[in-house]
Amino acid sequence: MKKTFTAENSQIRIIINEIKLFVENLNCNDELLNIIHIVSDEVLSNIIKYAYKNPYGIIEIECKTDCNNCLSIIFIDLGIPFNPLKFKKEDSELFTIGMNGINIIKEFADNIEYVRQGNANRLIIAFNLSSK
């Protein structure tokens, strides 16, 4: 599945529903669907909030599985460079609103890769379907 959307808040649920539709066809359990919902919500809201200076940019989504039973969701935007992997997972002793979204992504994804490719941010979030 590969689709392009405008980067605006009204698109978040629409994009998540497209991703979940793809994942539902893989016969995943409800917990994984919920995890994918919140991880996608965090990534998309970050892109919409911070990537573009001018409305409206684009978000491209690609979902695919490989032979190792791994699901990859690729989020592509053409905004300012942003590598979430550069942010360390924070100690949860202190509640810090801004960091929680990135912490949630790191906690629930099995693997995260970031590539700056030309003028695009490519964030690849992977879930191992065998362990779910």
């Binding site: 808040n9 649920r13 919902h37 919140i38 002793e93 509640f95 929680n100």
Partner: protein
């Protein structure tokens, strides 16, 4: 599917959140909660027993209730389980609201 219900019993607000407490849902609920600012509310209880997932935007609404409806108001979070409880624990939010 996200849904919520706000019940006011005298000076106490009970907020029941169902489904995915995500960015879109959190925005709707927070907009609604603005009607209760300085409205003689003494405490807020979030019932998350029917919440299936929570993003950081959901955490932000609870923080909003604590800080903006009335400063240092008592906020209880009840019924959270599984994935939702995991998000609450990792956020550190349980250090400043009462998670039951």
């Amino acid at each position: 599917m996200f849904n919520y219900e706000i019940n006011r019993k005298e000076n106490i607000l009970e907020i029941i959140v169902e489904g995915e407490f995500d960015t879109e849902g959190a925005k709707k609920l927070q907009d609604d909660l603005e009607n209760y600012i300085e409205n003689n509310i003494l405490s807020v209880k979030f019932d998350l027993s029917k919440t299936t997932a929570m993003a950081s935007s959901g955490l932000r609404v609870i923080y909003y209730a604590k800080e903006f409806i009335k400063k240092d108001m008592q906020v209880d979070v009840v019924g959270a389980q599984g994935l939702v409880m995991k998000v609450i624990k990792m956020s550190g939010m349980s250090n400043f609201v009462n998670v039951v």
